[in-house]
Symmetry: C2
Amino acid sequence: MDGDATRQAEAWLEAFEAALGRRDVAGAVGLFEEPGYWRDLVAFTWNIRTMEGRAEIASLLHATLAATRPMSWRLDGPATMAGGILEAWLVFETAVGRGRGHVRLRDGRCWTLLTALVELKGFEEPRGRTRPKGIEHGGFKGRQSWLERKEHDEATFGHERQPYCLIVGGGQGGLGLGARLKRLGVPTLIVDALARPGDAWRRRYRSLCLHDPVWYDHMPYLPFPDHWPVFTPKDKMGDWLEAYCRVMELNYWPSTRCRSATYDAAAGEWTVVVEREGAPVTLKPKQLVLATGMSGVPLTPVFPGAETFAGTQHHSSAHPGGAAFRGKTCVVIGSNNSAHDIAADLWEHDAHVTMVQRSPTLVVRSESLMTLATGRLYSEEALAAGITTEKADFIAASVPFRLQPAMQRPIFERILEQDKAFYDRLRTSGFMLEFADHAGLSAMYMRRGSGYYIDVGASEMIMDGRIALKAGVEVKGIEPRAVVLSDGSALDADLIVYATGYGSMNGWAAQLISQAVADKVGKCWGLGSGTKGDPGPWEGELRNMWKPTRQEALWFHGGNLMQSRFFSQFLALQLKARFEAIPTPVHDLAEVHHRA
Amino acid sequence: MDGDATRQAEAWLEAFEAALGRRDVAGAVGLFEEPGYWRDLVAFTWNIRTMEGRAEIASLLHATLAATRPMSWRLDGPATMAGGILEAWLVFETAVGRGRGHVRLRDGRCWTLLTALVELKGFEEPRGRTRPKGIEHGGFKGRQSWLERKEHDEATFGHERQPYCLIVGGGQGGLGLGARLKRLGVPTLIVDALARPGDAWRRRYRSLCLHDPVWYDHMPYLPFPDHWPVFTPKDKMGDWLEAYCRVMELNYWPSTRCRSATYDAAAGEWTVVVEREGAPVTLKPKQLVLATGMSGVPLTPVFPGAETFAGTQHHSSAHPGGAAFRGKTCVVIGSNNSAHDIAADLWEHDAHVTMVQRSPTLVVRSESLMTLATGRLYSEEALAAGITTEKADFIAASVPFRLQPAMQRPIFERILEQDKAFYDRLRTSGFMLEFADHAGLSAMYMRRGSGYYIDVGASEMIMDGRIALKAGVEVKGIEPRAVVLSDGSALDADLIVYATGYGSMNGWAAQLISQAVADKVGKCWGLGSGTKGDPGPWEGELRNMWKPTRQEALWFHGGNLMQSRFFSQFLALQLKARFEAIPTPVHDLAEVHHRA
């Protein structure tokens, strides 16, 4: 059966390679279904792009085949067949690199193809057999020790020697990308406003743990040891990132704020002024990466009368935890992850807390998400079945965004069925649920980066009244001691937490560079699904993430730990290619449809 | 062929299990050659012990069979046959634990057997599927966050709560053992005199890199990433250990010196007074582990007139590096690793340096050692052949010390042959070579822990005169500006480095506890091979290392990174068993034949 599948896959691949080899675009396109999907991560497009349907695939091939020169396609392991769908892993080469791919065939035609650049020829990462020796044996006058070289490097980098790449933001995104660029030999500086790597985690509300399980969260190159807890507490994550920065030998400037950035297109160079521990330093990188968190700038609505409030009010990102609010009356405005976590923590600290839910929320129990959704790819069971983290990432990437809702729906419907009693009780408590066309939590995340709660216990607290709920209302105004709602009622308040979310990442570009550049690159994140919070037109990929933008030499990096891990490799390869002056013709740079 | 070998191994194992099952000691012993060897790591003996010959094996079984109740023996993977020797991996259980083993059969009889305890039933390390969740989902009043729990633990540990185990010395040995005890849930405190974990490495001479290659050097649980250099520079190692201490959440008191330790046998408790950042703290651990470096206290011979020396003189362990001695005339007394490294570093800093070689030295080129010796088990090639670090450690442990010279000899003779020109030239330069009955460098290390140089370039510098050599002489005395030698000559000197080695580890016990206790436990390290520096009688295992000593509740831990990694698991299990009050009857506690 699998031998058969492998032969079928080989036959398709041979035909595909032959068509590409003779530049027969029509022939190649004819090997796809209509619509078939081809997702390319940098290998053909120097972009992150999904071609949907034969016309877009033909246009890709016309534009890129000559320069890409794909070759040496072969299966990487046996193909498998299930439910009429044949799946196979591929490897291939291009003129400049090596790639990895995945194909789904139905009745002999390609339904989905993934192609991903994983290595540049001649610029492979030194590892295993090619790792450095660490010392040059023999006697050499003037030899520098590792420490001396490191100290010299740290003293001169950013002054006598300029970084090729400047990463603003030293969270998991900036650190993981920095580690990849370090291994690729691209001179890179990471700057972060806070005092220590990991502080962005340490500063969050005290009860925070990662919402994704450990198998999903590994950093590049240095996986967590196998006793690491399923849900990493925020301060432990901070310590891990701090250690990671150190042992990966990243050039990292803490306590450094970006003050301005301007791009000189003629010189192909940024001028970035940073304030490093109070003193201004001017940097001249060729590439600028914003890795300041995919969530962007905190959004705090200003309700009428807010300035008259006599208690404490702050955005969820500034909330320190419940300890300071013991016995106080608290109102949390919002109903997503942070709102739930903060409300539960306040209750645990003997505060009286009411959650104001303004619009329906997608709730999924953490346990269900783990066992039925992420667990298929990221769990001990998946590992035991040979699905390594790397493999899981590629499997996840092999499904084009257009097909994800249909693929996720059966999983989500199983969750709805299994947790029916839970949802019924939650609905009965007055909580407004939404199910996002049953496409699941990951679809919601890709579309809006918000709108959901991964339930780790607060839903039960809403159901049993430990957290009071006021749902289906808007905030009309703030009084010195109360939040006034659209139904005319008022909630007493000593504390107001605005768990009201974040703007688009290009808000950072507006702050750091200019509104003009922010508008030029447009909104980050979101697919253009035409669903709430994600207006069309359809884009097929996340806007502006990990790929070229309308502003030359400006890049956005971020996302959850899995995305940061996986996509940092493609962003790193794009930067490395530019560093080495390898031609990187970008296919089909996305249009800007939304400013923010 | 291998199927055949597997059947043979199974047959032997069945017969062995049956004999043990019916307590048929004679029958079991009859399954061994005469002499056959049985090395046991804690599983039967609660000791580290090699039984040599049928009489010792019979005595082991008479003493331990009833309590150990070995069972469920089975092969772990197929057996292999090569050169008439059948090898197979085993697993088994005892009354209290699970074990791993290895057997070599010749003509159906057992030549060597290894049995090792790897896990205590009911006290397995939480990992993988059994890892902690990291957060308790739900709402709980008074919940402590990870950070709060950690901070509380750090504030009270050693004061309100006593460690069960105190480890003195926070180098790779103390940290790796600490990490294992942490996973096993044994309350453990590590104290170290220096300011930061890793400082013991950072303080060594500037040019130092690990002499063993990276594959040999992994710490438990958290292997180096695959770009790590082959030979880790000392400061990089320091940073790794510091990060390790942090992410493993070890209780570690830096800047803490041990002032005294006394054991109360009736209470089964130590009283250890430490000075923590200047303030005395009294600790009451049940177990005390000295992990202060297997090399023991630095040995500095006091030559007549040393007190009149007008320049700088210090032991190699206190040597800062060559930078301060530019243009100076330097004498290095000694001809082992440190002497060579320090001499080369001085030359690199434009010093004039003479090495005084008092006795012959075993020299092996690092490259040859890697490719022909350690590389068989620890290298990319070994990894590609399925020999993981863990497997390599067990393979290395499967050869009884008595048989190691014979097994190492062909390897070492191949090195001698391949590097003949090198040795000839080195001999011609006047350097006194010794080859330690061709048993190789590891034998020398086990016997004396010294006496060798792993050549990373300094031998060439001796041959071409960059490092001057004065061989075959003793030091007769020191004058204000010179070292006077036994042949009547004198060497001008601004600097004298005493690369004269270290005493036995029980010297630490003398310093910390008392000379009486140091004498009671006797010398550490060495096999009793009857070769130079390792007087008999034959012991069969390293003296006092990682196993019970003649002083109750006093343990010695140390060795190179491989030994620290491998043996820390058996030491940790011995401590855990005592912590859980599992009976640990020690079989055949070693006699003390040498005081130091």
